[in-house]
């Protein structure tokens, strides 16, 4: 009898240990729905860029038969504003679903682990962001989409040490996509839509299926 109790207690101890080890070293409340939401906004952004922003640009171009510095300036500005909008929408929706999941799990959203995850995600992203702004400054726009994909992929690979490790594979895919895009520079928007739209949605659905469905 006594021995049986001891064994059950040991089992409980081991479960506690595992839970604490995981919870204290990795941020496990990242929701798959965050990925889906970010992907939807990414696709919407790409569609707006293609069918709204570029539409006037193409029209003026075929009318006049050549580019003018002024159009290009306006186009760049519109695209930057659009990109910022998409980023904000994706960020806040991702934040919302993760906030909801961490509440359900009783974890704190702003803890030592989430801070570490955020920092490790932010370093490559900030470097990438400044790098790309620098490229635009020098009028080098061909590699904007590939650089976005590569830096984002590196950020994910780096962050995977501090959250569910599956995100590493999303990172690999983004990097590969970016490198392919590097060789096919004319299709930046297309690759961008795949990387930030389709891949996010696919990843989000897989994660949701794997970790959240049963709850």
């Amino acid at each position: 009898m006594n021995e049986q109790n001891q064994q059950l207690e040991s089992l409980q101890d081991v479960k506690d240990i595992r839970r604490l080890m995981e919870r204290s070293s990795r941020f496990i409340s990242l929701s798959g729905l965050s990925g889906v939401a970010a992907g939807v906004f990414g696709l919407a952004g790409a569609a707006i860029a293609r069918y709204v922003v570029f539409k006037d640009y193409y029209a003026e171009y075929s009318e006049r038969g050549h580019f003018e510095g002024k159009d290009f300036q306006a186009l760049k500005l519109q695209l930057i504003v659009l990109a910022a909008g998409v980023f904000a929408a994706a960020f806040f929706s991702a934040f919302y679903f993760t906030w909801r999941k961490s509440n359900q799990q009783g974890n704190s959203l702003w803890s030592a682990v989430s801070k570490r995850l955020f920092l490790n995600l932010a370093i490559p992203l900030a470097a990438g962001g400044l790098f790309i702004l620098g490229m635009l400054q020098h009028n080098e726009w061909r590699f904007v989409a590939p650089s976005c994909l590569v830096f984002y992929g590196l950020a994910l690979v780096n962050a995977s040490k501090y959250t569910l490790t599956d995100i590493r594979y999303l990172g690999y895919c983004e990097i590969i996509l970016g490198l392919i895009n590097m060789q096919r520079t004319g299709y930046g928007l297309f690759f961008w839509a795949i990387g930030f739209g389709v891949l996010h949605i696919a990843y989000g659905i897989v994660m949701w299926w794997k970790y959240e469905r049963v709850q």
Binding site: E3, Q6, Q7, L8, S10, L11, D13, V14, D16, I17, L20, M21, R23, S24, S25, S108, S111, A112
Partner: protein, 99 residues
């Protein structure tokens, strides 16, 4: 028959001390407040157990400041890590007995 309880470490009988060790072995360094938050215990309770772990030489205490507020962080010692792994192996052996 060998008594299965012999491998278990008396110090880790306590849930909070066991919890502290579980967290410290996977983190280089962790602050008092983070420990408190993860283990959901009161200041006094946690402090008592941290002192006993420190006295046993299982953990190291670093006292620092962030501005004017004290920021105490903890990390595990070599001894502590060994004691913890031994304890886990003993627990595993216990559980194998169930099956």
């Amino acid at each position: 028959m060998k008594n299965p309880i012999t491998g278990l470490n008396k110090i880790f009988d306590n849930r909070i001390r066991l919890g502290v060790m579980s967290i410290l072995v996977v983190n280089d360094e962790i602050s008092f407040n983070d420990l408190k938050q993860m283990l959901e215990v009161t200041d006094g309770n946690l402090a008592t157990h941290l002192v006993s772990l420190e006295e046993n030489g299982y953990i190291k205490v670093h006292k620092g400041f962030i501005g004017r507020k004290t920021n105490t962080t903890y990390s595990v010692t070599k001894n502590g890590e060994k004691a913890f792994t031994d304890h886990i192996s003993a627990l595993e052996n216990m559980i194998k007995g169930i099956k």
